[in-house]
């Protein structure tokens, strides 16, 4: 079965693969590029950078986003920074070290060749961003400034205050808007992809719902790029934006694109804790806080005192205690899990589900001004949300779903199992393995869009014979009809449950049974609960309004229906993977609370194939992973 998954990794030494591959790939002459259309779904970092780069090359690009403007894509919310192996700090960094850290950080479940390429192009990303006007932080000498980040011992993270994602996105957005101005990119806003159209086995177009008018549109193309982000909102409460959904990727999955490693989800350690039943989302605070903040839990169980009232002797700086060499900068999965253990053992801050993040020592050492300069906007945000002043008392934090390493399976060329369908950014599964290191999501999104897809899509065109297709083709008509039928169904149920309440219920199941720790019994239970929830959804959902015009509830209904199907697959994937690795922690497989991998049985990526119906169990395929350079070892940050 695994013959279905050819990763197409080029031969040769790890350091030469990408260079060699770039030369081996065929080119398209400029006159022919004009005749080729590429559809890009999503205009976050990956989508916008892909659209602008492809437009610059001369392709006809159609870019779609659900937002009113590409600038609102959720990449905008990334705070901390972006990694690059520039070694500007002369602290021993190199492309190979970034590669090494990322493979190790991913707990040996990523594809080595992809990760090395990512590390290689990381340096170009910084150059490109600066050239396009991104105001990255500078030192007094005018040179770029760096900070350190979790899971790494060198300072390789570039940043723009606490708004790195925003600035990089605005950079990619402005590059894309330039192409819109020049006419190479056509921009379609407030549009949601609701199906992929496959003709003769190749991706040839998409079905789009115009979110303003409710109209169903068909768009044909020669290749489709899905860059629609991650699926953390399957947990209902996550740090993702409200519109983040799996829908575009899921529809592609149903049309033949395998979905890989869905159970690899990242729970981010430094989020503001949940405050009540009506909370709509969780707010992340940049991991960069861990550079100067110290994480601790009260030694006394059930200690209800405010953090500032607990004396030094009664505090447990647990990350510093357990991981003396990385301390508070331990990777996200590790830090999150330890916080969960403290809470489970009854050492939660104020007796609740939280631990403390304390800046007292840094304020004493650096002064309030310096701390404010580094983290002012985050402190302000915390203050706004909680009404507490973090300069005066420790913050309270708790892990929250944040990023999903899993996604549509792609080969080295970022092409999915459907020829002509490429997947970029968080929507694909490729580079982070079972755990993503901080400041590497921005890096991957831009790497895919700026520096990988422009080459590999050209190679696809050069090697593929593509006839002309029209949207009048039966495949388009059929897909458009099916989409309309599904929407009509949602509207016609007129049951008694709001979409929101069903989403909340799903999120609750996922967080309890497929969250920071999972086990066989829980996952089995979750699968049957989700199957029931799916029935409940389709028989009892209440979607007010009509299909024409703006109908937010109808949009949400479609997204939640997909999340429910995905949730089941996540649990099944987690159940099948009988080991612990990175963000996937099976309670049965651990040594003293640390993840215990099983490289004998599970040193592979699992990619799931849709079998035509949500009632049919999906087929699991494997892509074996080899580690020729960074040798398999137990990850240790102690």
């Amino acid at each position: 079965m695994s013959n279905k998954l050819d990763s197409n990794i080029p031969s040769g030494d790890i350091g030469d693969k990408w260079t060699k591959h770039k030369f081996d790939m065929k080119l398209i002459n400029p006159a022919n590029k004009r005749k080729l259309t590429v559809i890009v779904i999503g205009t976050g970092l990956a989508g916008a950078s892909a659209a602008s780069s492809l437009g610059e090359l001369g392709y006809k690009v159609k870019a779609f986003c659900v937002h009113e403007s590409p600038r609102r894509a959720h990449s905008v919310a990334a705070q901390g920074g972006i990694n690059a192996a520039k070694n500007y700090q002369n602290d021993g960094d190199s492309v190979y070290r970034l590669f090494y850290d990322t493979v190790k950080g991913g707990d040996f479940r990523a594809r080595e060749a992809n990760v090395h390429r990512l590390a290689e192009v990381s340096v170009n990303i910084i150059d490109q961003a600066v050239a396009s006007g991104v105001p990255l932080a500078r030192e007094y000498g005018g040179l770029l400034s760096n900070r350190s980040f979790g899971g790494s011992q060198v300072s390789r993270t570039f940043y723009a205050r606490g708004q790195t994602g925003q600035q990089l996105l605005l950079g990619a957005y402005s590059s894309m808007m330039r192409q819109v101005d020049l006419g190479t990119v056509e921009l379609y806003t407030r549009r949601e992809m609701l199906d992929l159209v496959v003709i003769d086995g190749k991706a040839r177009g998409v079905i789009i719902r115009n979110l303003l008018t409710g109209e169903i549109e068909s768009h044909e193309a020669d290749a489709v790029v899905v860059a629609s982000g991650g699926y953390s909102n399957v947990f209902y409460l996550s740090t993702n934006a409200m519109a983040c959904a799996v829908t575009a990727a899921w529809k592609a999955h149903k049309k033949g694109a395998f979905f890989a490693n869905p159970c690899y989800t990242q729970i981010h350690p430094t989020c503001i804790p949940v405050h009540g039943e009506n909370q709509s989302k969780l707010t992340l605070m940049s991991e960069s806080l861990r550079n100067d903040g110290r994480i601790w839990a009260p030694l006394k169980k059930g200690d209800a005192r405010l953090g500032k009232d607990i004396p030094e002797a009664e505090r447990d700086y647990f990350l510093e205690r357990i991981y003396p060499s990385f301390g508070n900068l331990a990777p996200r999965d590790v830090a999150s899990r330890q916080a969960k253990y403290r809470v489970d053992e009854g050492h939660g801050a104020l007796g609740e589900k939280a631990v403390f993040l304390d800046f007292k020592d840094s304020i004493n050492r650096l002064g309030e001004d310096k701390v404010a300069e580094r983290y002012g906007n985050l402190f302000q945000m915390y203050d706004k949300i909680t009404g507490e002043n973090p300069y005066k008392q420790p913050m309270r934090i708790f892990p929250a779903p944040h990023y999903t390493m899993g996604g549509l399976w792609v080969d080295y060329n970022l092409q999915s199992t459907v020829p002509g369908l490429f997947v970029a950014g968080e929507a694909n599964f490729s580079d982070h393995g079972a755990n993503r290191l901080g400041a590497s999501a921005l890096m991957q999104g831009l790497a895919d869009g700026y520096f990988v897809l422009p080459y590999t899509i050209g190679n696809y065109f050069a090697n593929t014979k593509l006839g002309k297709v029209e949207t009048t083709n039966d495949a388009f008509k059929h897909a458009a009809n099916e989409t309309q039928t599904e929407l009509n169904k949602f509207l016609s149920v007129k049951g008694s449950r709001s979409v929101e309440s069903l989403h909340k219920e799903l999120g609750h199941i996922m967080w309890e049974k497929c969250g920071m720790a999972r086990d066989k019994a829980g996952l089995t239970e979750a699968i049957s609960k989700i199957q029931n929830l799916r029935k409940e959804f389709h028989s009892n959902v209440n979607v007010p309004g009509e299909g024409k015009g703006i109908n937010n509830e109808l949009e949400k209904a479609g997204r939640v229906a997909d999340f429910i199907e995905l949730g089941e697959l996540m649990c099944r994937d987690a159940l099948t993977r009988e080991e612990s690795c990175g963000g996937h922690f099976r309670s049965e497989y651990q040594v003293d609370g640390e993840a215990k991998r099983d490289d004998e049985k599970f040193c592979h990526a699992a990619a799931w194939e849709w079998n035509g119906s949500a009632d049919k169990t999906q087929t699991r395929h494997q892509e074996e992973l080899t580690f020729d350079n960074v040798h398999l070892a137990t990850r240790s940050y102690k």
């Binding site: 403007s69 600038r71 150059d127 006007g133 609740e352 929101e500 209440n542 937010n552």
Partner: protein, 264 residues
């Protein structure tokens, strides 16, 4: 969190409008037992949940990240863009800012260049068209030289960042009695004029972006400062002074005309 706060009850007067062609009007709703730890949008979520359960159409408002950075959300609360708190988007506004029994009037951004789409949602694509007209640096992917070859004095970088931090929410236009987009447009002009990379095209950029700003039907700046006061990111009025200067300089220098903005 920690210490539970009492809940409050509010009366909402919300602008409801079916679509751009329909006439809108205010409708009253009760928001009961609102936790003061909830955000303003979470309060609206609960009102909507009740409406849905009564089979009524929920109140539509734009929102996405809910952490004050995407710029999607925004409407007027009692005449204040994003509500009464300074430096805050409405998604980050928490119910602690309100007292029990208050009546709150919610209205969409009002500006001819921001047509109302439905309820509290307006069309801000005019902002995209202003950026499209020249809010970029013409550099193709792959052309960049090493990032540290461009030295940027820290004060310039910081100032550029302060302008670049604009989230494009439109509160400046909404709070301006003239519906002027001067703050939005000038922030981008200032951001790029301060950086060495942006200097090459600065004259053309100023000409194109201000021309587009006028063409969209935004009003003139009267220097009242209402925009900056309402700005959730505290974008300074100084940016507008820069824009005016850049435009005058560009007009005097008369750069060569080229069609459709900067060509790569």
């Amino acid at each position: 969190m920690g210490i539970a706060k009492p809940t409050i009850n509010l009366k909402l007067k919300v602008w409801r409008q079916k679509d751009n062609n329909s006439k809108g009007g205010f409708k009253e709703y009760d928001a009961k037992n609102v936790s003061q730890d909830a955000s303003f949008l979470e309060m609206l979520d609960s009102v909507n949940e009740e409406l849905i359960n009564k089979n009524e159409e929920p109140i539509l408002f734009d929102h996405d990240c809910r952490e004050g950075i995407c710029g999607s959300c925004g409407f007027m609360i009692n005449g204040n863009a994003h509500g009464p708190q300074k430096s805050t988007t409405v998604c980050q506004l928490h119910m602690r800012a309100f007292k029990d029994g208050e009546t709150l009037v919610l209205e969409p951004w009002r500006a001819s260049a921001f047509p109302i789409l439905k309820d509290l949602v307006v069309d801000r694509s005019s902002f995209d068209r202003i950026i499209k007209s020249g809010g970029y640096i013409s550099v193709n992917t792959g052309n960049a030289r090493d990032a540290n070859n461009i030295l940027i004095p820290k004060p310039d970088a910081d100032e550029a960042m302060a302008s670049a931090t604009c989230i494009g929410c439109g509160a400046c236009v909404a709070s301006c009695k003239n519906a002027s987009a001067a703050l939005f447009t000038s922030a981008k002009i200032q951001h790029m004029a301060l950086l060495p990379q942006g200097k090459v095209e600065r004259a053309q950029r100023a000409l194109d972006m201000t021309a587009q700003m006028d063409a969209e039907g935004f009003g003139a700046c009267s220097t009242t400062g209402a925009c900056s006061a309402a700005c959730p990111k505290d974008i300074s009025l100084i940016n507008i002074a820069t824009m005016n200067r850049e435009l005058l300089k560009a007009t005097i220098a008369k750069p060569e005309e080229h069609v459709g903005g900067g060509d790569g």
